[in-house]
Symmetry: C2
Subunit: 160 residues, 2 copies
Amino acid sequence: MAEALKEAEAAAEIGEVPVGAVVVYDGEIIARAHNMVETNGRSKEHAEMLALEKAEAYLGRKWLSGCDLYVTLEPCAMCAGAMVLARIDSLYIGTMDPKNGMCGSIYNVACNDKLNHRIHVERGILQEECSSILKTFFREMRIYKSALKRNNNTSEDTDR
Amino acid sequence: MAEALKEAEAAAEIGEVPVGAVVVYDGEIIARAHNMVETNGRSKEHAEMLALEKAEAYLGRKWLSGCDLYVTLEPCAMCAGAMVLARIDSLYIGTMDPKNGMCGSIYNVACNDKLNHRIHVERGILQEECSSILKTFFREMRIYKSALKRNNNTSEDTDR
């Protein structure tokens, strides 16, 4: 999770919501990524999706059995669904996301008896650090936005 | 939906599970795609994901407000989540998917009060045709697989 946090830090540095993910196979990190939604202007470029894509490319197969994914923020429906489709073994989550999280917060897509693959999920790994980087980012964004509003009477969007 | 069905037919012709999707903006089809999971060996290449990507590229923006998506099969968690992130207006579904569907069958990701975008969903559009093409495909795959098993005592995977 410390490596996923480094990815989240890299995201914050370029103005992306700080979420990072790494994929581990056979004790080694085979893919790492951070949120790239704003940079690339594509709503699907969440850290987890990019990390899964890189892992698939690295292993040369569409299923990631034997792989574990570490992510600093609880995955949304899209990312949790992609993990089920990719059949990863385990998912380690930093901090939970009550507004969008689909691995226990709103629904539990990652581990659902009706689906044909269930992921082992552990939560709260480096929870404080993973939560703190997000809080800092959004606090700074709020300060930036209110300064911008004062100057231009406009606002910009900051959704992930 | 008739155009989404044409895409599903194109998928079946290349051995993909026949699911097709189109994105409509301002009364015009701006993106169309079918399932490409087996062909490209990537678990995320569902018809809806590819259609959303093409629509984003066509419009040059990450949000697809003003767009409607027509898909022959009820979207899974990944696809439904991607639609919420892309903020499409309406989703028109051909036939429901009790095993994987996340727009009413298992969960309802597309229209959930807790999420910050809710999609207008209509179901059962050309239901019989959308269901029939899937049933035919899986029946043929079962015949093919059992013939293969008889000959080689092996089996191949047919999951979407």
